[in-house]
Structures are given as C-alpha cells and as structure tokens.
Amino acid sequence: MTRRPFTPKVVTANALLEGDVVWLTAEDAWTRDIAEAELIEDEAHGQIRLLHAEAQPDVVVGPYLADAEPTPKGPAPVHFREAFRTRGPSNYPHGKQAGD
C-alpha cells in the first residue's frame, strides 16, 4: 500500500480579540501574514503544532491545519478559501488587503 504524500500545511486560526486571521510561526508567535508562517512538511510535526495552537484558547479561536505550498516569499495558500483568508472580502478592501 502506498501512502499519499503529505501536503505541506500551516496552522491557522482567528484571533480571539480581533477575530481576524492569523497563522502560527516557527517561533511560536501568531502572525497576520501567511508568508511568515511555519510551513509544516511532516504529518506528526503538524499534529504537534496543532496541539500547541489548541493550547492557546485565550489567544486564538478554532485553529486548524490548512494546505499550503512553498514559494520564494514563504508559504502560500492552496485552496481559494484559504487565499481569501489571506486577503479579505472581494467587494471592499476591508480585510488584510487594506494594508497592502
């Protein structure tokens, strides 16, 4: 039986106070920029990082592992939903794109 290759992941959540989208960095901080997130390339490590995020209920809400891919600038989203989460809504520049 061949195992499916592991798709790289990032840990993401919403910040408790602001509600906005955050990603977990390799330095255990939460960032508002996915490019600064830790790209997790190993399944077991992913589970450990997710547990680490889940242990911070006073900082973030609903952490989960999202598919990501490496780029020269850092991790980038794979699915369109995750891509929207890096930007904000498409009808107004009211999300993260406001700072671009």
Partner: protein, 559 residues
C-alpha cells in the same frame, strides 16, 4: 409602531449586562471557546472568515428613524461604516471586535433593539411582509401578530434548545411577499365565510439542503387560537424533531417523514391540551400591541394616486418616471405610495448601506414617511407611507445619495447571501456574481427589456440567498478546489411557491455570465409578448428551451 414597555427595556438591558460579563470572562480566560460559543450565538455574535459578525434583529423588518440612525452610528463607531441587510430582514455588522460587542448591544438597547435569538436553535426573528400596514391588497396589518410572537418566543423556556433553528413568517396579504411557504411556520391571513380574519397555517417549508414547500396544516385558524396553536406546533416539533442528525433536524423533515396528516393529529391533540391554559392574556396583549400599530389611519381607495405636481414631474423627468414605474407599489390609502429604495445599485453589494445612506433614509422617513422604515427580505429598504406629492423630493434626495436605482423586481435586484466573502460556511462567493450580473445586463441595456425577474444567489447549500425559489437560482459550490455555479430554473417564492429545477452541470465563474446571457436572450426570443415574464414563459414551455440555451454543446452532441 410598537414601542418597548418597561419589561422589554429591562429585559434587554439585563441581557446586555449578562453578555458583558460573559465577554469579560472569555477574554480573561475563565470561559473556554466551547463554553462561550453558545452564549455568544444567543446574542447574535458569530465568528466568520475574516472577523466577528454581529447579527441584529429587526423584528418583522420594521424600524423607525431613530433606530436607523443608531444603526448608522454603530456602523461608524464600531464597524467599517456600513451594514448588510439580510434575507431575514436583519442587519449584520461584519467587523466588530469582541470587546466592543457589549457596547454595541448597549447602543442597540438605547433604541429598543437587540440581537437576541438571531442565532442558535431557537425561534428566530419573526419576519413579515415588508409592505405590511401599507399594502393595498392587505386584509390587515400582520405585524401586531408578529410582535406578539416575538414577545412570546423571546426567552421562551420550553423553546431555547429546539432540535434546530425555527423560523416563522407572517403576511396579511393574499400576495405572498413574505415567503411564507418556505418557513418552518408560515401564517397567511385569510377571511372565513362570515368575513372574519384568521390564518391559514403552513408548516414544514424550508430551503437549505432539502428544500420543501410548506404544507397547509390548518385552513383557517381563528386569531384567538393563534398563540396556543403555534405553541402546539413548536411543542410537537420539540419532541419529534431529530437531534441525532442536524441535516434532518428541521420540522420540514419531520413533516416529510411522518406525513402532514399525522403531524396535524399530533398538533391538534397538543392544541386541545394546552388551549385551556391560555386564559386570554395573550388576547389582551395583542389588543394593546394592535393599538400601538393603529395610531395612524389611512383611507382605503381603489383609484391610483394622481396629483398634478407629481404627474408634471413624471412628464418632465424620464429618470424619475422610470423610477416611479419600478420602485413604487400601491398603498392602501389614496394619495400615498409605498417606495422601495433599491440597495442594488449596479455593481454594488446587494443589501449593503453605508452609514451616510442609513441617515438619509432615516431623515426621509422622518420628513416624508411617517417615521417608518422597513427592510425587505429582498434586501431593500422600504418607505411605506409616502404622500404622492412628496415623491419627487424623496426621489431627488435618494438620487443624490446613490439610492435611486430604478430596478426593483428586475434582473439586477438580486438577492445574494454574503457567501465566501464573509461566511465561514460558504463553498463559493456570491457577491461578485451578483455584481457582475448587474453590471453586465446594465451595459447590455437589457434590464428593462427583460422585465420582472428574480435572481437569487447562495454561497452554499444552506440557501440563505433563497436560490431554490429564484426564477433563476444560482448556487455556488466548490468543485475540486474551484468555484462552480449551479443554475436552477422555475423557482417562485410567492403564493404560487415552487422549488426551482436544476438545469444541468454547473458553470465555472468565468462561464456563468455568458450562460446567463444566452439564457435570457433565448427568453426574449421565445416569450409571447413583453408582458410574459420569464417565469411565465418557463411555465408555459417547460425547461427544454432554457436548457438548450444554457448548454448549446449538449444540443450539438445530441444532433
């Protein structure tokens, strides 16, 4: 309009204080998210894709100018300067910060508003015909009954943990503008043989994953029995509703699985049991509520409003004339009109209003509209009582504030849910699709040629955008990581309610517009006359010619 009594005011304040303490405990870590989530949902606070969202109830879609101004204030002070009006006649603020929400609720309480039961498995905000109390075709204003239901259902101890959410809609008109057949309970006012008003009670309607048109459980319910009968329905549902599977938990599934006869028997038995317990207090409360709604009297008249100044303005200004043709509805009193203010400027987000626009609407309601505003389930704002001689002035003010789009009931008057631009449950976006359709058909100058048409868009199968009952319904899906849009045809939300039929395979976002263009050009070709609406042509000819227009390659393959 109903004004909060001391009990309502104290109750709402108490809930704000309670929620303030809960937010503090969440922030200081004494409440976990699992503990906090049901509490915040009970107060209308969701966590969406990019931020929290506060859903505020606008009971039966009615508000006064002070309330509208307060919504504008909240939008500016704690949000990003706008609000989104929804298909449930509510308003949603898309960007509140957790710590600010208690202050927002406090500001709402200042004007007799709240966010209670706008979420959770409870009886939600009761919706009503947005022309209630004004419509020429109305038997009587259904809002006193809606208000009675609001008071009865708010914090009702038996119904705080229903199997699933529960939605009630009320209309006083034979023309169903309140989508009563797609609600858990729909109440349609009717007259019996001796001319007394009562209700036809419809149960088990709903959209979502398993769309159903509601079934009549009682042909005629005397108004005196309304509350006990509704309570009997919810009580039967509370016991019978499935709690093991949330996709099968709504009353529509229960009605479908057990059959309407069995449900009717159970409800009638429960009704007989609880009816004696209703001593008449509900009747007295209803009478008091009604007195508050009836403090204004309009005379009935069958003749269309006609005033010399108004006619002259219509003759002189084609844009004003076009607006009066599409955005006015007949009022029950001579000399008045119902104004629908479109929140669907071509290319704008359906249902959104800026704080500035909300203030303009509040000012207009105060100056020319008996201080009343309505939110329609079609995501527009209504000025229900405008004197005909004021229409031109109202129009000019609306126009100066980008609120005079003459498109009510037309192709660009689209219902669209927030979709994946905001909603965490979405499978695709809906807003950009609505924007593109409106802009494209405006550019083609086909909007008025096409005439009356209901397009409704949802960003997932939950169907908040009512796509099942759109003449053209559009459902956004995720097909292997790409947004894909499925079209349904022939839906209808009115008294002739019908669930639309799936036309065929979905379209990629960049194919959808051309497909709709083919569909509507085909309609223009095959309709018998300009008076024959899209839905009428569809009913006359069936889906075949429309499918052929949507999928020309299939036709070529078959040839």
């Amino acid at each position: 309009m109903y004004v909060y009594n001391d009990f309502d005011a104290a109750f709402v304040r108490e809930r704000v204080a309670q929620f303030r303490a809960q937010v503090e405990r969440r922030i200081d870590g004494s409440l976990t998210e699992d503990e906090f989530k049901p509490l915040r949902l009970m107060n209308g606070l969701y966590l969406q894709l990019h931020a929290y969202m506060l859903r505020v109830a606008i009971p039966y879609g009615t508000l006064n100018s002070a309330q509208m101004r307060q919504l504008a204030y909240i939008a500016e002070r704690w949000d990003k300067g706008y609000g989104h009006f929804t298909t449930r006649q509510n308003i949603q603020f898309n960007w509140p910060k957790l710590k600010d929400v208690p202050d927002m609720l406090e500001a709402l309480a200042d004007v007799g508003m709240h966010a209670i039961q706008t979420s959770g498995n409870t009886i939600r905000n009761v919706t009503a015909d947005h022309f209630a109390g004004a419509a020429a075709d109305e038997i009587a204003d259904p809002r006193p009954v809606a208000e009675l239901l609001r008071q009865w259902s708010t914090d009702h101890p038996e119904f705080q943990f229903l199997p699933r959410k529960f939605k009630i809609a009320v209309t006083g008109s034979p023309n169903d503008r309140a989508v009563t057949k797609a609600h858990d309970i729909g109440l349609r006012m009717v007259l019996n043989e001796v001319g007394e008003a009562g209700f036809e009670v419809i149960v088990g309607g709903g959209l979502g994953r398993t769309p159903m048109i509601g079934k009549v459980i009682r042909d005629f319910l005397p108004e005196a029995d309304l509350l006990p009968y509704v309570e009997a329905i919810v009580s039967v549902y509370n016991l019978l509703g499935r709690r093991d599977n949330k996709y099968k938990a709504r009353i529509k599934i229960i009605v479908h699985e057990h059959g309407i006869e069995k449900i009717r028997d159970l409800v009638e038995a429960r009704f007989a049991e609880i009816r004696p317990g209703f001593s008449g207090v509900d009747r007295a409360v209803l009478a008091a509520i009604r007195a508050q709604f009836e403090n204004r009297s309009f005379e009935r008249s069958d003749s269309p409003p006609s005033k010399p100044g108004y006619e002259a303005a219509r003759a002189a200004n084609p844009a004003f004339r076009a607006w009066t043709d599409t955005n006015l509805a007949p009022h029950r009193a001579d000399g008045y009109a119902i104004v629908s203010v479109s929140l669907k400027a071509h290319g704008a987000t359906p249902g959104d209003a800026t704080a500035g626009q909300m203030r303009v609407l509040a000012d207009l309601a105060e100056a020319y509209g008996a201080d009343e505003l309505r939110i329609s389930h079609e995501q527009n704002v209504i000025l229900p009582h405008v004197r005909v001689e004021h229409l031109h002035k109202v129009y000019q003010t609306l126009r100066a504030n980008d609120l005079a789009t003459a498109n009510i009931g037309k192709i660009s008057d689209i219902i669209a849910c927030p979709g994946m631009d905001y909603c965490a449950l979405a499978t695709a976006r809906s807003i950009p699709i609505a924007q593109e359709i409106a802009t494209r058909f405006e550019a083609l100058k086909l909007e008025h040629e096409i005439g009356d048409l209901k397009i409704k868009i949802s960003g997932c199968i939950n169907a908040c955008g009512h796509h099942h009952v759109g003449h053209i319904g559009i459902l956004g899906l995720d097909r292997a990581g790409v947004e894909n849009y499925q079209i349904t045809l022939g839906g209808d939300h009115t008294e002739t309610a019908a669930i639309g039929e799936r036309a065929g395979p979905g379209f990629a976002a960049d194919e959808l517009l051309s497909a709709l263009e083919r569909l509507l050009l085909a309609y223009l070709d095959i309709r018998e006359s300009p008076e024959e609406r899209f839905i009428d042509t569809y009913r006359r000819l069936g889906p075949a010619p429309f499918k052929a227009a949507l999928y020309p390659e299939a036709r070529a393959d078959a040839a």
